[in-house]
Symmetry: C2
Subunit: 209 residues, 2 copies
């Protein structure tokens, strides 16, 4: 195996050690020394892969975002052969919620970075990395839905796409805070899609009547 | 002035010192010693008001949530004499966004608590404190809107009310991350209200056409 691949593989192992600490105790608990211990290597060895804590943090954030993207791609591929745009959107958005161990650690690590990124422009740039592409992908699905007559055409906008991302992200935080059970968050996400797509009234009684 | 009031006033001053540190450097930077220095009092004096750091954190969180609630109440009172339920909802939801210095510090402090609350059940309970009441208030506004024929009646639900809270919270985070300008977040919030209330099509061209 070429040396470069080994290097990347080892960096990924180290970032997984960082996530385990972050997921259980938060990002501030993760010093280079702690991460080295968690990864079962010496501090000197770790510093061979990451010279600074910031370098490690950025790598680990990119890596976890990559895994989240892979997970969402797998969810789309697991759909029926010709999924509707709405099915594609739903698969992506539910993939952003902490519904299982892998996505939960992703959202936990994201929460830790978020709190730090609000005070750190470099991390902030990393944290929002990928959002424009995700927004463009969602907007494309909305346009496809409108073309198929499944969405009111005036709702096939970039703003609606960005709103979808904010909704999923807001719901993900509320699952971590235990405001909502994971399945309630999925229900609220479906409710947002129903509002957006203008689903027909199902005749249920309004609350409180 | 009775002694009890003095005690509370001093505790509020200390919690404001905590927010200033949290707003600029994060919650982990705020030790009892740092907060005492920021408040211009001795550590011993601070410990007269808060025996532990956790006691100080909880008090400061309740205090900032109270200020946010007061700010939202003031926004509602500043509306026209008979605001529509939708105007009331909009005033509350925009009040949750970081649109000025006071609301920005509130959201920054909220971000710091959020990252910590995911690992701490006591803080988690505090962080979600008030959400059920806010949800009930929003659901009540939705029911009023439906009674006035301004909202499809099947949308006057507790779930729609909880979705509104998540949307505002998700957008607030994205303003801190500089994904959205404050005014773009307001625009997306209005878009969500338009989806919810089923606003008539305005005939604008869909994106990309």
């Amino acid at each position: 195996m070429p040396k470069k691949v080994d290097h990347e593989a080892r960096r990924r192992e180290i970032s997984e050690a960082l996530w385990r600490i972050t997921g259980s105790r938060g990002l501030d608990a993760a010093s280079l020394r702690d991460v080295a211990a968690e990864a079962g290597i010496s501090l000197g060895r770790l510093q061979h892969y990451f010279r600074t804590r910031d370098e490690m943090l950025i790598f680990a954030l990119r890596h976890i975002n990559q895994l989240a993207a892979d997970r969402i791609r797998a969810r789309i591929e697991a759909l029926a052969e010709e999924p509707t745009p709405r099915e594609v959107l739903r698969a992506c958005l539910t993939g952003m919620l902490p519904l299982d161990d892998n996505s939960r650690i992703g959202v936990l690590v994201g929460a830790a970075y978020y709190a730090r990124a609000v005070h750190d422009a470099t991390l902030r740039a990393e944290a929002r990395n990928g959002i424009p592409q995700l927004g463009a992908f969602f907007a494309d699905q909305l346009r496809r839905a409108a073309e198929r007559g499944e969405l009111p055409p005036e709702r096939a906008t970039e703003d609606q796409a960005m709103l979808l991302i904010s909704v999923a992200d807001g719901l993900a935080s509320y699952v971590l805070l235990e405001v909502h059970e994971p399945q309630a968050a999925v229900r609220l996400l479906d409710l947002h899609l129903a509002n957006l797509f203008g689903d027909a009234v199902e005749g249920q009684a309004p609350a409180g009547e």
